[in-house]
Amino acid sequence: MNSDQPPGPVEARLDRLRGRALPVNHNARTISALAANPGCPRRALMDAAGVDKQKIAAHIGYPAPFGQSRFAIGRGNAFEARVKENGAAQLLALLREHLDLDVTEVGYTDFNDVAGNPSRELRHVRTRQALTGQDFAPRTLFDHPLLRLRVGGRHAYLEPDLIALRLDGSFHVIEIKSFPVIDGQADAGKVAAAAIQSAVYVRALRDLIAEAGGDPGRVSHETILIAPRDFASQPVAVSVDVRKQLGVLDRQLVRMTKIADLLEPCPATLTFDLDPDRDGTPRRPREELAAALALVPASYAPECLTTCELCFACRAEAAGSTGALGKSVREDLGGIEYTAQALALARGQLPSAEQAEIAVLLLRAAQLREQLLGEVFP
C-alpha cells in the first residue's frame, strides 16, 4: 500500500477540498464506517480529505445527532475498567480458557502513556518496539497499544482495547464492548460493528508486523469479543472471525489510495471550506455549500443512517429514488431508478423495451393490491 501513495497534486486538491479546517482524524469507528458503504464516492472523497462532515451537515441544515451518548461511553469505560482491574485478572481467566494460555503467560503492559506522556507518536513507537520484540520483557497482554493505519495517504492512529500475544507467536485482537450477550446471543448489528472494528485493528497490526519484516499471518483473523454475560457484569468471551470484514476493508483502503480517479470528474475549484470567522462560525452561504456538495455523487442507502454524519442530507437528496428504500428494493426494481417511474408503470404506463419485464410484474402487483384491499391504485 505504501508504493501507490497519492502524489502531490492529489494531496493539494484534497487540501483544497477541506479548505482551512484542520483535518479530521480517522479512528476505528470512521474506518469501519467506510467499509459499511464502500460504493459512496462522496464519503470516500470527504474522508480522504479529512473534511469535518458533521459541521458541513449542520451548516446545510441537516444536522445528524451523531457520536456515542455520554452514558454509553461511561458504561463502556466502567465495564472495561472492571475487566482490566488488578492486572486484568478477569480477562486473563477468560483468555486462559479461550486461547489456551499457559500459566506462565501473564505479562501485562500498559500502553496508555509512555512514562506519563500521552503523546501518540511516542506511544506508537513504544508499541512498535514491544510488539516487534525489540525488548525482551515477557509480554502477553498489551493494554491499549497505539497502532497506525495509512488511510487515504494519511496515518490514522488506532487504539485497540487489548492485544494478546501467545507463546507460539500469534497475536489476537481483543475488543471489549458493553452490550450484553444474553443466552449466547447479542445484537447482530452491534456484533457486526465490533467485528469490522476489530478487522481494522487486525489490518493495522498486520501492517506493523510486516513493516518490521515479520510474518503478517501471525496476526490471527480470529478476534475475541469480551462483553457482559446476560444481565450481570460478569464478562464472557466470544470468538469472532473477521476474514470477510478484512476483505471489505482492504478493498475500501485500496479504493482510497485511488482517490485520484474519484477526484477527476470534480471541478478543480471544488471546496467544502466553511469560511469560518474568528470564532469559528461558518460564513459561507448555505446554498453555495449545498451546491458544492451536490457536485460529488453520493450513493445513499438506509444503512448510512447509522454510520455517516451526512446521512440526512443524502437522504433528502435521494428522496424519490428507489435506492433510498434500500438495497433489496433497488434490486427488486432492477433498472428503474425512481419510485415515481415504478408507480407509473404499475398504473399501466407503456414501458420502454428494457423495462417490459419489470412492468409486467408491477402491473400484476398493483392488481393484487386492488383485489386485496378493494381500493383502486392511486
Binding site: 488488578n86 486473563l92 506462565t104 501473564v106 503492559t109 502513556d113 512514562a115 506519563g116 511516542l122 515477557p138
Partner: protein
Amino acid sequence: MAETIEALERRIDELRVAVREAVLSGDPALAKTRRAELKRAEQAWEDALAVATVSAVPAPAETVSGQAVPEASPVAGPGEPGSLLPLREQVYEALSLLQVPAAPKLIATVHEAFFGSTFPTTRVTSLKRDEERSFRTAPFARPYYICAALSADYLSPSRGLLAVSTWPMERRVIGSLSPRVDFLTAAIRVADAIERIPTPPVTARRLLQRFAASIPGASGGARDQVKPDVVRQAADAELSVHADADSRMRREAADRARRQLANAEQLFGAKLQPVSDEAGPNAG
C-alpha cells in the same frame, strides 16, 4: 478509641501545616477546603473525646489480632459507614493489609471489607498529589507517605497504583509480570486476614470470592463457599511459577531506581520530558 483520638490529633497537626502551606503559596481555594477539613477534624476530635469520657465500658473485644501488619484498629461497628480516620490513614491501613501496590478501587474495597468503612475513590487522586507536595516541601517529615508504584521500564509512576513509602523499592516497582504476582499476593493476604477473623463480614468473603474466580483451582467447586486455605494454596501454586522471573526483574529495576533517581522521584516517579518525538528512553 484511643488510637482514633491520637490519629485525629496527628491529623489536626498535619492539617494545620497544610493550611499554612496553602495560605503561603497563595492558593485561597485550597486553603479554604483545608480549613474546612481542619474544622471537621477538630469537631471529630471533640466528639471522640466526649464518647471516650462517657463510655466507661471498655472497647469491644479485639477481633483482629494482627502481629506483623499494623491493622490494630478494631473493625468499626456495622452502623458506622464513614471512618473517623483521615483518608491517608485508611489507605495506609488497607495497603498494609495487602502489602502490595494496589489501585484505589481495590484499596477502598479492602478497607470496607476489613475496617468497616469505605471512601470514594475519586478522593484518592488528590491524596497522592497532596502527599507529593508535602514531601517536596518537607522531605521525610512524616513517618510514611502514600506514594506511587514505579513502572520498571521508565521508572515513571505506574498508572493508578498506590504504595507506601516505607516499603522496599523492590516491592514498589512494577515489571510486566508484577501485576499478576501482586494480584496473587493480595489474594493470599486477604485469605490470611479472613482466617484471623472468627466471623468474617460478607464484604470480606465476597472480596475473597472475586479473587478466587480469577485464580485457577481456587474456587474449589462451590462458588459461594470459597475457603481461604484453598485460595491460598492455589495462589501459592501459581505464584511459584512467576516468582523468580518477577523478582529478578524487580530487583534490577529497583537497583536502577536507587542509582538514578533523587529522593522525591524514588517515591513519586520520574516524568518523561517531552523533548523529542524520536523515541522514548531506552528500556534498559
